[in-house]
């Protein structure tokens, strides 16, 4: 199984931060060998892998015991090296702004996705988002900078790389 992407995408991510959505961590757990080589390629290309606390909450909640909680925490740490984009008052203001911009399209968007979007707004060209949730990040608001495909036995997993450029 191999990850298919445009090599130019890696160049555009160089020296930038790539924010990882909850679904990425879940997919990493089910296909670790595919993602490990891809993440190491990104790290070797000076891409900083990061996330936000809300994503961590979504991953950690439901852990049946302390060991399972710590294993999840370690997995996040191995990938992101503890780079967590802090939630600032500006980000909260951007969440309210995004809610207005989404209008009715935002009726089913998760709070975590709103915060991820707000982080993109705050850090603009220095921050990208990698997500499998390709319907909640509207292209009238966020720019789709690239697409990554992972063929697997049950079909093709497609991931979007988004940025806020307005």
């Amino acid at each position: 199984m191999e990850i298919n992407y445009d090599p130019a995408l890696i160049n555009s991510l160089r020296n930038k931060h790539l924010l990882l959505d909850t679904n990425i961590f879940r997919d990493v757990a089910s296909k670790p060998s595919v993602f490990t080589s891809f993440f190491n390629l990104l790290k070797n290309s000076d891409v900083t892998l990061a996330t936000i606390d809300l994503v961590k909450f979504e991953i950690l909640k439901g852990s049946a015991n302390n060991l399972k909680y710590e294993e999840k925490e370690q997995m996040i740490k191995d990938i992101t090296e503890e780079v967590i984009i802090p939630t600032t008052s500006e980000m909260i203001a951007s969440v309210y702004e995004l809610i207005k911009q989404y209008g009715i399209d935002g009726a089913s968007i998760s709070v975590t996705d709103l915060y991820l979007g707000a982080a993109l707004i705050q850090f603009k060209k220095n921050l990208f988002l990698l997500t499998r949730d390709t319907t909640d990040f509207l292209q009238r608001i966020f720019e789709l900078s690239g697409v990554i495909n992972i063929p697997c036995s049950k079909g093709i997993f497609t991931y979007g790389v988004y940025q806020y450029t307005q």
Partner: protein, 51 residues
């Protein structure tokens, strides 16, 4: 405000990480089973996905 950076870039140790990820995946599967069983027992509507 600037973006936080890792102190020193550390590559993922593939062998060790795969072992860890497999354990985490089992936890996720356990949680999905728990959610489905709880919802069925309560007669709730099932969502197609747990997240």
């Amino acid at each position: 405000m600037s973006l936080p950076k890792a102190k020193k870039t550390k590559l993922i140790d593939e062998e060790k990480f795969i072992r860890l990820a497999k354990r985490v995946n089992k936890s996720f599967e356990e949680e999905v089973r728990y959610i489905l069983e709880t919802k069925m027992n309560n007669g709730d509507k099932l969502r197609p996905c747990a997240y």
